[in-house]
Symmetry: C2
Subunit: 228 residues, 2 copies
């Protein structure tokens, strides 16, 4: 059975990648930068999203795509309250977003209204890493109370991302998290990674994350140039 399973999975993933490439082209044409935010449940994806939306509200309204395994749109509602315009994707029980879901969601988002798109994936450290969504940056949000062994236990996720956010650093004094051990694990898997240590609760370290994001926002002119 497993002998026939693998090629089928590969075929599905390659169809997914083709759709992801279309999506990327759509973002580029609109002059928008897109981030695929992945994390374990409870690492603080939604809190980081809220902070980011609120920070950029004045200069650049954020477009949000929130992936959830059910009809309940808690995260999308939180994003909207924070000031984003957002679309909720119900994955129907699937534990990850796929490019086709994002393509459908994009039909409901006016990309000319934004320069920053945040895609909040389903909380899961396994499957989302296999599915490209057309984002410019794949971002992993880790959190201190999850433990410093996570890069060693979920190597595929840590190896496949471009940016790492270590959230909840305000809990460092109350846990056994060894930052050096954690960073050593990350370094072995993914040495070119951009990383941020911060706390969405206290605000510590958020400024560097905002600055990095701002450096990737395209000037409004970029969008103009893309329009024929």
């Amino acid at each position: 059975m497993s002998a026939t399973r693998v090629p089928v999975v590969e075929k599905i993933l390659s169809a997914n990648d083709a759709i992801a490439a279309e999506i990327r082209a759509q973002f580029d044409a609109a002059g928008a930068v897109a981030l695929n935010l992945m994390a374990s449940p409870g690492a603080g994806k939604t809190s980081l999203v809220e902070r980011t939306i609120a920070h950029f509200k004045g200069e650049c309204p954020v477009a949000m795509i929130n992936g959830d395994t059910s009809e309940a749109a808690f995260d999308a509602e939180r994003s909207q309250r924070a000031g984003a315009f957002s679309v909720h994707i119900n994955t129907g029980g699937k534990c990850h977003l796929e490019a086709a879901m994002v393509r459908d969601a994009l039909r409901h988002l006016d990309l000319t209204q934004t320069r920053l798109v945040l895609i909040e994936n389903v909380g899961n450290l396994v499957c989302p890493s296999s599915w490209k969504l057309g984002a410019h940056f794949n971002v992993l949000i880790a959190s201190v109370p999850e433990g410093d062994d996570k890069p060693y236990k979920y190597p595929k996720m840590y190896a496949g991302v471009d940016v790492l956010v270590i959230n909840k650093i305000d809990l460092l004094p109350y846990t056994d998290f060894r930052m050096e051990y954690f960073r050593r694990g990350v370094e072995t898997l993914n040495s070119g990674l951009v990383s941020f240590a911060l706390s969405c609760r206290t605000g510590e370290g958020l400024e560097a994350w905002f600055e990095w994001l701002r450096s990737h926002l395209r000037p409004l002119g970029a969008r103009m140039a893309g329009e024929q």
Copy 2:
């Protein structure tokens, strides 16, 4: 495409349930109680397992089945160091254990040597809830820093378990976790749930968990009666 997908999934799950029933019969014949431990990555499955193995070492050696998405057997090694005899399952990237994997693992475990089997599932709050493994109790380990909204966001997992462990209560003073809001969400989904609030780090609350486990351990005579 989704019209043909659903029946296939149902067929796979029903084949899985048949194997799970065989596994349950195997546990019962051996007089062993089995627990399927599920949680988000970093909630403290392995820490609870270590504490439990160490506690029961004298009276009842624990048999461990550790599910991991890769060849790296960190959890199985931690279980062995704590005093269990254990088998590591590499799910080959799959984000959950399936009954067939547990059946294979059981070929390497001598159930006559134990009365307590702990199955540590892959860290994931979505898929493991769909796959029965033949365990007598499905146990969810939640943790305080994950946030009090998890029952609302992962209802299927919370609705489908028999036992809930709320770990890391030592972090309550340093987070915004509202125990009442959390419990209200759980109560709505699963009112008959047995639950424990504890900290594997400080040891607080562990005694009640051990007592509950002990009350379900069958006397050695139960195994004798099962033998023909």
